[in-house]
Symmetry: C2
């Protein structure tokens, strides 16, 4: 049996791997191999496969026996190719060690550069480069990074200052200089030893000098970081399975900090914010890659087109030949990968090396534009274009933006790092952001710069504002991924964490003050700025049109008002899947009539109160029917328990008694008689209409009178009357009889008849179980997956907050089942209900109107079980349309 292969070599125009081996080599490793294969100049190296990571964790953190030999053999190849030797004191080979999982996890995995340096090899580096300062700069960077990442020599809390920063700051102060670059070679040499001493003194650890020991330490750190708390959090947020593991890429170092003919940069082949087709990136002369990403020095644009001021110097102008080569490479990469690429490059003594290429993250706007334009360019087909835009991404496009006419008090301007509009109260820590969000407050997270520890807080915030860092800084990349508004590198900000405030010129903004961010302009504004509905681009319409061409699932909306109906129709809703009539009960002085009905002593009293409500309800329906002319409108009859309409405080009770002209005692007695231990499982839904048929009668009458009156005016109305909370077929028989009788009466009185359907919510487990019997009566089903989830899990949505977050945190549940439909459990009932319903009535119309109707994974599930439509809130209609198209694409795979 041949030995299992764990290590894959790449470099010199060929590689043992390829882009198709992403699962084994990780995204970065597969791309390095692929780039080698297609002739891109990539420093040689090798990838330790993700299988090693998996095996490592499965075997109590032990490597497979074959690994060491394979690593040494690949290392030898690199040495041969580079003509250097690892650990050689004369001509030392240095390595970068990076993680690389299947999908990019920015900032999550730790990287070590310049590995292989010690007091001996540094001399070889000096000799070979003839640049002592560069060599010691590399050495001190290496010690810092290795001690931090591999040896975990870090301050325990965020309040403490980074001890390495303390040492370098002291050194700069002692030398009377401002920038790191002004430190001399001997300063840097001193730093190396001061660093090592500090590691020993403060952390009681000895820094390893032996290069091979350094290498295995770094490999171990990469695998270790896979199960670090930060990585786990990121995976949870992004639904990445823990068992995938990461690969390790060990690659020969090339140096962007070898003098002024050296540089480093990152770039996108198209603008990741707008999608514009232009080469877009940043570079720094005489620097190493992490200087760009970490945002410590503000980088320069790669080309003249990217310049925002004359002070900036572009690579295009500075190194025109190199820039031309880079351009040609990025064209090749886009052609090869047929997608926008995010690349890292280094120039070492005027020689260009590509360090990485990967599919670039982008905003929703950019994703749409790139997808549509690439179809125009003939790079991809329409289906690919659709699949390139994630439904959930659209969310950021569909939410309000600042009203251009609103008065804005612009305080400062930063980089427009991630588009969108956000207002919130200032917080300065991720923890505070999370805590405030849980209290229902909107916050903006303000940081000097963000780090992976901040991800939870960024997720909780409405927007992110940083004082440092560029468009590719951590904050910018992560915010774009989250579809969250971000203004980065707003250098006018002076942040005082201790005083919990920031200052711009003489203006103080304290923790808790309101600010607004415009992620598309980079503007920071004081206070809350008015927002309006964004206009959707032509590209958006084009892409949605393509999605509509292939999707099979209808998309309706949940809307209770003519206004919402209009918004949803503009977003492409093909009807209303849920109108909640009880929302109308609270409006204006209607609540008085509702309360009169509840307090009535008998049927006559209830009927007389209901008679007052009838014209109001009819008015609602007239408006909604008109807004949805020609499209079906599903109206759900009264659902909540009656006590929800009664007042709670002593004061309100007294007022009500006065208004109704009844004794306070009677109001109290009624409230007490209607009290329920578990209102969720109480006297609500069709149970109300069964005990008080006059309520159903009034609502059906209002719906059908409105429909008749509009039909008489030539307006096409398609009412669908939906009975909630059905658990047995007989309940529906009972309520359908009441509705049909009301219809007969209305049609006779109005002298005109309209077609209407009577159907039911399937939201009680028993309804799904007996769907065949219910379908004999029902003309349509609509799955109410909110309640169905509550009852199938036995979770009260109002109370589950005590344990649900922990359940998700601890992996007991993969996601919150109220956000993402639980296909394993609740989904069974949805599928069963659909099948059984159709078994009794083959053409039964089946939809969903729970929150899940706008959640992409759930929409795909609805497609899979063969529903006719999903219904969701207006702003999620485009998301559902796109998700429905994705469902078709995924099915055909």
């Amino acid at each position: 049996m041949s030995e299992k292969k764990y290590v894959y070599f790449f470099g010199g125009g060929k590689a043992e791997g390829s882009t198709s081996m992403k699962e084994l080599l990780g995204g970065k490793g597969a791309n390095l191999a692929e780039m080698s294969n297609i002739g891109i100049p990539v420093p040689p190296g090798f990838t330790i496969s993700t299988e090693v990571c998996t095996t490592y964790y499965e075997n109590n953190k032990k490597y497979p026996a074959e690994l060491e030999k394979q690593v040494l053999s690949a290392l030898k190849k690199v040495e041969d190719m580079m003509g250097k030797k690892f650990g050689d004191v004369k001509n030392p080979l240095l390595f970068s060690v990076r993680s690389g999982a299947r999908v990019s996890m920015p900032g999550m995995m730790d990287t070590v550069l310049n590995l292989g340096l010690n007091d001996e090899t540094v001399k070889g580096l000096i000799a070979k480069s003839g640049n002592e300062r560069f060599a010691y700069d590399s050495y001190r960077r290496f010690v810092h990074m290795y001690a931090d990442v591999v040896m975990e020599c870090r301050p325990e809390s965020e309040d403490e200052v980074d001890p390495f920063e303390v040492i370098i700051d002291e050194k700069k102060k002692a030398r009377g200089v401002k920038n790191d670059t002004e430190l001399t070679a001997s300063d840097l040499k001193e730093l190396v030893h001061e660093y090592k001493q500090m590691v020993k003194d403060r952390f009681n650890k000895t820094f390893p000098d032996e290069p091979m020991q350094q290498l295995w330490g770094a490999i171990g750190a990469v695998f270790g970081s896979w199960n670090g708390a930060r990585a786990i959090t990121y995976r949870k947020l992004n639904h990445i399975p823990h068992h995938w593991g990461t690969a390790v890429n060990v690659q020969a170092m090339v140096f962007g900090n070898m003098g002024d003919d050296s540089a480093t940069g990152v770039a996108f082949t198209r603008d990741p914010a707008t999608g514009e087709r232009r080469f877009y990136g940043e570079w720094l002369k005489n620097a190493q890659g992490e200087d760009v990403v970490a945002g410590i020095r503000t980088p320069q644009p790669v080309n003249a087109a990217g310049k925002t001021s004359n002070a900036e110097i572009s690579l295009e102008e500075e190194m025109p030949a190199i820039y031309k080569e880079l351009e040609s490479i990025y064209h090749n990469l886009e052609k090869h990968y047929r997608d926008m690429q995010d690349i890292e490059f280094t120039i070492e003594n005027n020689k260009l090396w590509m360090l990485q290429t990967r599919v670039g993250k982008r905003t929703a706007t950019a994703a749409i534009r790139i997808a549509v334009e690439m179809v125009d360019e003939g790079l991809i087909d329409k289906k690919t274009a659709i699949s390139r835009v994630q439904p959930e991404q659209l969310d950021q496009l569909l939410h309000p933006m600042f009203d251009p006419k609103a008065e804005k008090q612009i305080l400062a301007k930063g980089l427009p790092a991630s588009p969108g509009a956000a207002s919130g109260k200032v917080v300065f820590t991720a923890e505070e952001a999370v805590a405030k969000k849980e209290l229902g407050e909107k916050v903006i997270l303000v940081r000097l710069e963000t780090s992976p520890e901040d991800i939870g807080g960024m997720d909780a915030a409405q927007g992110i504002l940083t004082a440092r860092g560029g468009m590719t800084s951590h904050a910018a990349v992560v915010a774009r991924g989250m579809g969250k508004c971000c203004v980065a590198g707003c250098s006018a900000l002076e942040i005082d964490y201790a005083a919990r405030k920031f200052t711009v010129d003489s203006t103080d903004v304290k923790s808790g003050d309101w600010i607004s961010l415009d992620g598309s302009t980079g503007e920071l504004m004081l206070g809350q700025v008015k927002t309006i509905q964004p206009k959707l681009s032509g590209n958006f319409a084009t892409l949605m049109g393509w999605a509509d061409e292939i999707r099979k699932l209808g998309v309706r909306t949940n809307a209770d008002t003519p206004k919402d109906s209009k918004v949803a129709r503009d977003f492409g809703a093909e009807g209303i899947g849920l109108t909640r009539t009880e929302h109308m009960f609270f409006e204006g002085d209607r609540i008085d009539a509702v309360r009169e009905m509840i307090l009535a002593e008998n049927v006559e009293g209830r009927k007389s109160a209901l008679a007052k409500l009838l014209p109001m309800q009819k008015g609602d329906f007239l408006g909604i029917f008109q807004a949805m002319e020609g499209l079906p409108v599903t109206i759900r009859l009264l659902d909540p328990p009656l006590h929800e309409f009664l007042p709670h405080t002593e004061e309100e009770i007294k007022d009500l008694a006065k208004t109704m002209n009844v004794p306070v005692g009677r109001v109290k007695a009624k409230i007490s008689s209607l009290h329920e231990f578990n209102p969720m499982l109480g006297h609500r839904g069709c149970r109300l209409g069964i005990i008080y048929p006059e309520i159903t009668e009034m609502q059906a009458t209002a719906i059908l009178e409105a429909a008749c009156e509009l039909k008489a005016k030539g307006i096409k109305v398609l009412p669908e009357i939906m009975v909630p909370l059905i658990g047995t077929a007989k309940e529906l028989i009972d309520q359908k009889a009441v509705i049909d009788a009301a219809a007969k009466k209305v049609f006779a009185e109005k002298g005109i008849a309209v077609d209407y359907l009577v159907g039911t919510m399937i939201e009680i487990p028993r309804a799904a179980l007996t769907a065949d019997k219910i379908a004999e009566v029902a003309e349509f089903f609509s799955f109410g997956t909110n309640d169905l989830t509550q009852m199938t899990f036995g979770y009260s949505r109002d109370d589950a907050g005590v344990f649900l977050p922990q359940y998700v945190e601890r992996g007991i549940l993969p996601t919150d089942p109220f956000q993402v439909l639980d296909q394993e459990g609740v989904g069974q009932l949805v599928e069963m209900g659909t099948k059984r319903g159709r078994s009794a009535k083959a053409n039964l119309k089946v939809g969903i109107c729970g929150e899940h109707g706008g959640e992409p994974n759930s929409v795909k599930f609805c497609h899979k079980v063969g529903m006719n439509y999903v219904s969701c809130s207006p702003y999620r209609v485009p998301i559902a349309r796109l998700a429905a198209a994705h469902a078709v694409l995924e099915e055909s795979k």
Copy 2:
């Protein structure tokens, strides 16, 4: 095509029907046919089939076209056989018209006797009988009965006096006589006309004189009464389908009131109260059947053995030849039907006629004795014996009886009409009984005599006491059917409905006073008399032994204390299926430790409070394990939400704060933070143990320490630890890990290990749906059908009272799903859960521990789905054992 047959003739030693045609002819009709067939002297007649009733209601109360012709043809046959003509003025044939459904519904259906009499035909009756008084007595009875039953000439409320009674009472007063029998022929003739006049004056109706009109009116009244409120109530109480319909029996009249050589009687072939093998019945000389049943005159025993005083005159002594013939008939009937018979007979001028035979209702004691003795006699086999005793019947045997040593203040003695012991507050109307019961009060219904209108009140009462009527009176028959204690014919009682009191001698007993009844001795006692556990007879043990031989389902009990465990074990429980540990949390001062745990600020605080609870819980388990030595004991971990353990009133909160030495504010804050909108769906069950693993740990430790300590003493303990409210496999994985860790620790500390199982409740729909995954972890399943019903229906048991009764009333649900398992819906989940669980673990032990575990229909369902056991409250254990045996018998059918 031949004409559909609707009318079936019987008489003269042959019949068109037979006993196997019960569904078509009803019980009474089938038996009349059968009796004819086997040569029993039955007055000829015909039966109109139940199909006519069904057709009648399906076709808007119209009879099938063929009916009239078939009735006339059968009537002609009867005329020929009796040598009389219906409506003939010289030799008139009279009919009785009775209902007859598939199963006997005593008192529910209306009967009309002497039909065919009018001012002309009565002369023929006088001529033929030579007895003018008899003829007019028949006539006035007929008019009274017909006007009441067919024409509905009745007072509207119970408070009003029966107008017919008013007329006859006035007549008696006018004539200065005391008994009806003392009225003369001309008195009776006057009564007939006064009755008819009253019908006209008061009810504005004309009494029909035409015999054929009378006949169709009576037939219509029988069918009408099928859908009368009383019949519907009875069917609901007894789960009889409404679509069965009733047959109508039209039979030639024979007369027990034709003088002193005539009589009428009812009898049982064995004692219906005790089951003793003796001919047991009552008769009245010169009377018609309803005189016996209605309890207006106190009847005499049929034989000398039945006499309780010398004043009584038995049929055996009075008419020895007839009695001998009757004895021979009853022997034949028992041999033929192989069951105890309830017969009606009439002696007309020394000629014996059998009017009816049917399977006799009996007490549970009698049912058992008869079943066992009939096996001894070779009449039936063991399986038949088992099937003769209804599981639900056993209930009456298993409840406490009066302590023989208790002091009793015996006030009076009546007939021991239905055995059992009952104490309650005196009520005088059925409505009051129902109302008081709903308030949770125990009542005894005291009536002069009961009527079908009283059924609801009888059901609500602990026991029934009547002043009039015999062992076969309405009260006695219905009470025995209900298994309810009844003392009948307690003639010492003077009831004053208006004053709401009764008097015995000089003792007044007022409404609301406590009395006690002994249905086995007929004693009426003042106050509440102490009860004890009854000793079960040898016959009971024999029958239960037979049941155990054939049942496949195990029977366990739900018990929380050693005492309950002991009772259940004595009743045959084969283990404990459910011990609720939270019940123990409330006992004594434990609640303090529980509250301390809840109020703790952190894990350490909780652990220290739990440490106080540990020895107490262990003590409980020691007791239960000992009581159940050698049998499995399933212990459920803490289930209710924690707020259930906290106080509610201001006073209690202050006390708690003081006891705990914490500020009142903190207690209130805790109560408020634990408040839940829907506690049923809140933070309870395993969700507690997952968030607070220390609770699970303490409980597992207490269970296993107790088990180890007993094992060390040589006592065999089989603990089964049950985790409640599991919805996903991962929850169980989590809790099992905590339990297993606790076990490891306990076993190490005690130096001894015990076998234990870890399993789960299946009480959440999702658990049933994902049972295959849960079974990979669980070692047993126990269906918690209480919660499963709540969640599958979306009904809160605490709140559903507002609509559930109406649901059952209106037929939306067949029964209360909390009493009888909903096989159509919830049952699907039970079946699915069992199958899927076993698909993952073939030998998975599956049981049920909801209330349904002791309900016979539900037990049969559990057998059908292949459960290993049911678990129910101790007193229902024998019921479950018998039901499990019935399940096997029904399956083999």
